[in-house]
């Protein structure tokens, strides 16, 4: 710690860069989940993505980026579709059908992981925490193995691709997403297909969760999807400001969380998620205090007027 080491510093940079891209993509997608009241769907998809990854690996035998993305997106869409049709056909409440579907898919995923522990590059632990500390060691080499140049961690490139996809699709589809989110009936009358945008959003959620999987694990993604977006929701006055605020919150959580994990020697991913929660608590506290102050202020005004 005393001597400045360039290699260590580089590792930290890779970890931080990966974490902040993960947090930013999650926050942007999470905004739409919060607004469309589908927070639980985000929870469900982030769980079942595990099955997608395991199956993709078992079937194809490779853990290349594109196979993982494909497997995760397929299972994510299946989760969304299954919960919706179960809700429609069996007349169960929608949260109940979400619960039944994702617990089943996640269980199958965990069972497969424990069956093939030796053969898969996954274990129960990494399902939970992810291994962001090991991210810099799993690198992609451009060109052939011997002479090619090392271009950086695999997880970083994966999340960079997904981040760009999320960013571009939100920018391009901004108006449509806005209409579908706030005025579904208007969207319907304008001929905007609501199911298309619903499944489009679910695709984004699945891609984000799978890309975050290496870094933060299946379950902590939920915290990054929901908490920064919900904090932004407390303050924001428009969709645009909500998106910006959510990204801001997510970046703050990454920095604070990283410091926290360094201080406590705890899991980086869990600490980031915890700091997102702490930031939300601080926001809530400030809002409550201001609410009380305002109330007192009005009461005073009322008293002086009466007097």
């Amino acid at each position: 710690m005393s001597s400045f080491d360039l290699a260590d510093w580089l590792l930290d940079i890779w970890i931080l860069a990966t974490a902040s891209l993960v947090a930013a993509s999650c926050a942007m997608v999470g905004v739409f989940l919060i607004l469309r009241r589908q927070a639980l769907m985000g929870d469900a998809i982030s769980h079942s993505v595990l099955l997608g990854i395991v199956l993709a690996y078992l079937i194809s035998g490779s853990n290349s980026l594109w196979v993982m993305l494909l497997g995760a997106v397929t299972i994510g869409l299946i989760t969304a579709w299954l919960s919706e049709s179960l809700h429609k056909v069996s007349r169960l409440q929608s949260d109940a059908s979400i619960g039944i579907v994702f617990t089943l898919l996640f269980s199958i995923g965990v069972i497969l992981v424990s069956l093939y522990t030796g053969q898969i590059d996954l274990d129960q632990e990494c399902v939970l925490y992810g291994e962001i500390a090991f991210v810099p060691f799993d690198t992609i080499i451009w060109g052939d193995m011997e002479t090619g140049t090392d271009i950086g961690p695999r997880a970083f490139w994966l999340i960079l691709i997904v981040f760009l996809i999320v960013l571009i699709s939100i920018t391009l589809g901004f108006e449509r997403l806005k209409t579908v989110t706030f005025h579904p009936s208007l969207a319907l009358s304008l001929g905007i297909s609501i199911p298309f945008w619903h499944y489009f959003l679910m695709t984004l959620v699945s891609m984000t969760t799978v890309a975050s999987f290496d870094a933060v694990g299946a379950i902590l993604v939920v915290a990054l999807l929901i908490i920064p977006a919900a904090s932004a929701y407390l303050l924001a006055k428009s969709l645009k400001s909500m998106l910006w605020l959510a990204v801001l919150y997510s970046q703050l959580s990454v920095w604070i969380g990283y410091a926290l994990s360094y201080w406590l020697n705890s899991s980086i991913a869990a600490s980031i998620a915890v700091s997102a929660g702490l930031l939300m608590i601080v926001t809530l506290l400030i809002m409550q205090i201001r609410k009380v102050q305002q109330k007192r202020h009005y009461l005073q005004q009322l008293n002086t007027e009466q007097a």
């Binding site: 619960g99 269980s107 069972i111 424990s114 919900a230 809002m287």
Partner: protein, 455 residues
């Protein structure tokens, strides 16, 4: 810790059978305890989960189970012991805190209930994992096994755990038994319960505490992550079999007990297997069996009903078409060809011939060389249907201000489901002899007789 020791391929099945035999011979006292524990847990969790389901808060258990994790870790950090009671107490406290937050957030901020659930769940879980990773890198004694709380591990359960489990589940089941009426009332109609002077808030909190208790006590066996399923899936499966609450609860308890003991056995036989996922998989199989095969509301039964209705509609339509043809010929000719029928009603020929065969079997129409004719019984039925169709048309045009084209569409559907009482009610309302298209509303033969007698 996660080292899955690969069994030698040949000996594996024998070994598994041996374990299973030991499990069921009740020689291994620990295995027997695990079995009893899992049965009790399955029962109490599914019964209490049923009330959460009925109150439309199916995923509450999920959030509460996740919320228990930091409490467990805190309790371990502060006390340094892994006593069942200490862990239980810590989990209980943090789960209750989670419950309070889930309740508080939507009431005091603009955050919606579903988001509040997801926020609490993920924040508490992250906190728990952070503490767990802190514990694992620290130098504390007997820290191993804490991570088994995440997915559950039947083989890691101690006798202390089981005793606590038995106590708590018995308390939960007894409480449900004692306050059954009150719980039922607030689950189905909260407002009505209030007007009856029931202390709703008290029973709601009591119910919440029962949920928290069964979640927390089940952590060792089922694990944090999948606790949701054992609360939710049994009642969702039971719902296809009955509408009676007591039956529902008994069924849910049965489903819960069966799958919990199955999961425990699998995990006991193959110690590398986590219990929770196997419980969930067996529960889900029970759920899908119920969903498809349940005798009253199963998918199969509903499909068969639907097909039967569809067939009946096609058959009734043919009868009515024959009557219409008869009417057009002024009741002079009673034999009509297939072509004449299809000219009036567009049905695919395959459907038509199949339905006609069925009608012939029922002796409603008879087949002759020059075509098909209504039998006496068939005529009666055709008259009845035509009468209902035209009555409904007149009723709609008089009382609902629909034009004659619209009324036809409606009557096409309603003629198949009107019953005798409704028919008489309409007749009492109307003084019509003709429908809006000007066709006479046919009378049933018995009515004809009665009217001629009156003259």
């Amino acid at each position: 810790m996660n080292g899955f020791e690969p069994y030698p391929e040949i000996g594996f099945m024998q070994q598994a059978w041996h374990h299973l035999a030991v499990f069921w011979s009740f020689e291994d006292i620990n295995a027997t305890w695990v079995l009893i524990g899992s049965l009790l847990l399955g029962m109490s969790a599914s019964v209490i989960g049923a009330f959460a389901f009925l109150r439309k808060r199916s995923l509450l258990g999920d959030a509460l189970a996740h919320a228990a994790l930091p409490g467990v870790m805190m309790a371990f950090l502060l006390s340094g012991s892994r006593d069942a009671e200490v862990i239980f107490f810590g989990a209980l406290l943090s789960s209750l805190l989670g419950f309070w937050i889930i309740d508080w957030l939507p009431k005091n901020t603009k955050i919606k209930p579903d988001a509040a659930l997801a926020i609490t769940l993920s924040f508490f879980f992250a906190l728990g994992l952070m503490l767990l990773s802190y514990i694992q890198t620290s130098e504390m004694a007997n820290k191993s096994g804490l991570d088994k709380l995440l997915f559950g591990q039947a083989a890691a359960i101690t006798e202390d755990d089981i005793q606590l489990l038995i106590w708590v589940t018995s308390i939960v089941l007894l409480t449900v038994l004692v306050f059954f009426d009150k719980f039922r009332l607030i689950s189905f109609n909260r407002l009505y319960a209030k007007t009856l002077g029931v202390h709703v808030k008290f029973y709601e909190v009591l119910l919440a505490i029962m949920i928290v208790l069964s979640v927390v006590v089940g952590l060792q066996l089922v694990g944090v992550v999948l606790m949701a399923a054992i609360l939710l899936t049994p009642i969702a499966a039971a719902r296809f079999w009955s509408h009676q609450l007591s039956t529902l609860l008994i069924l849910a308890a049965l489903f819960g007990a069966i799958s919990a003991s199955l999961g425990a056995q699998i995990s006991y036989v193959a110690p590398a297997m986590p219990t929770g996922p196997w419980i969930v998989v067996s529960l889900s199989i029970l759920f899908f069996i119920s969903f498809i095969f349940a005798p009253q509301q199963g998918l199969l039964k509903r499909y068969l009903d639907y097909r039967q209705l569809k067939q009946r509609v096609v058959q009734e339509n043919i009868l009515r078409t024959l009557y219409k043809l008869l009417e057009r010929e002024h009741f002079q000719r009673n034999h009509f060809t297939l072509a004449e029928i299809t000219a009036l009603r567009s049905v695919s020929t395959a459907d038509l011939t199949r339905s006609i065969q069925r009608l012939i079997k029922k002796h409603l129409i008879s087949e002759k060389s020059n075509g098909y004719s209504l039998s006496e019984e068939g005529l009666l039925k055709a008259i009845k249907l035509t009468r209902r169709h035209r009555l409904w048309e007149s009723y709609l045009s008089q009382h609902a201000d629909l034009n004659s084209e619209q009324v036809h569409q409606q009557a096409e559907r309603i003629e198949h489901i009107l019953n005798k009482e409704q028919e008489e009610q309409i007749v009492a309302e109307l003084m019509e002899q003709l429908d809006p298209h000007g066709a006479p509303i046919p009378k049933l033969p018995s009515q004809n007789l009665r009217e001629t007698k009156n003259k």
